[in-house]
């Protein structure tokens, strides 16, 4: 931590989930980095790919099951319509805070210089093609490629 005084120069954020609370956490961290003059790159893997899948990214949900912070019994969370209800409530609150929708947030990230990468292995697993994804994606790469992107002093990696 002595080199560069431990200052963060680059955030490498891996998103492996697509429940809306995780997606927003990752996006806010990436955007927040750029706002501070820190570089940021994102790697979307496994279910995280849904956050950049063109047909799915506008329909992400809050996880109501297996989420202790929802403060509702797990069985209730599984009832029909519960996810949609929790999602629309959360979206209303986020709009009040001037939080953009997922697609607009991706556009903001791109315009801010965040690099967006899709995981090659996960793309193959889900049978997705690059054409299925958010058009401004920087590319489909391997884990090794992503690690290479992190080269340099002050790079930090975060798994969500």
């Amino acid at each position: 931590m002595t080199e560069n005084n431990g200052e963060i120069r680059k955030m490498m954020i891996i998103l492996s989930k697509a429940s809306i609370e995780n997606v927003y956490a990752a996006f806010v961290l990436a955007n927040g980095a750029r706002m501070e003059g820190i570089e940021a790159e994102m790697f979307f893997t496994f279910f995280g790919l849904e956050a950049i899948h063109n047909k799915k990214l506008d329909h992400l949900h809050v996880a109501t099951v297996g989420n202790p912070a929802m403060h509702m019994p797990t069985m209730l969370g599984g009832l029909p319509g519960m996810e949609a209800l929790a999602t629309s409530m959360m979206k209303k609150e986020m709009e009040k805070l001037d939080m953009p929708e997922v697609r607009e947030f991706l556009e903001i990230l791109k315009a801010s210089g965040v690099k967006l990468w899709a995981c090659k292995l996960a793309m193959e697993m889900f049978h997705y093609e690059k054409e299925d994804m958010f058009p401004d994606l920087d590319g489909v790469i391997t884990v090794g490629d992503f690690y290479k992107q992190a080269t340099g002093i002050g790079a930090h990696m975060l798994f969500i």
Partner: protein
């Protein structure tokens, strides 16, 4: 604390943001821009004026709002004020650092 900016003693906080917007003038803005290694163009001034207008309206600033301002888009904003654009632009504009996370 006090700092000498453009030959004026001005109250600033520890990060160099002006304590009182009333002490700001164009020369002060220019001097802060020089410190941030930014050469102010007419486009920079358009953005600074917009930011100051929003501040006077007490409307909180965010990167999303800048993008929707009609003055600059987000890409341009980052190009004009590289490295922490909103922080740098508000400092030059003489207003407090935005507390928003977005």
């Amino acid at each position: 604390m006090e700092k000498l900016i453009a030959n004026k003693q001005i109250q600033v906080n520890e990060e160099g943001y002006l304590a009182n917007f009333s002490e700001w003038n164009k020369e002060v803005g220019e001097a802060i821009a020089v410190e941030a290694a930014i050469d102010l163009s007419p486009k920079h001034w358009e953005v600074i004026n917009y930011i100051q207008d929003e501040f006077k309206k007490e409307s909180p600033l965010s990167i999303r709002k800048i993008g929707k301002s009609g003055v600059v888009d987000i890409k341009e904003f980052y190009a004009l004020f590289p490295n922490a654009p909103l922080k740098t632009a508000t400092k030059i504009a003489g207003i407090p650092k935005p507390a928003s996370c977005i």
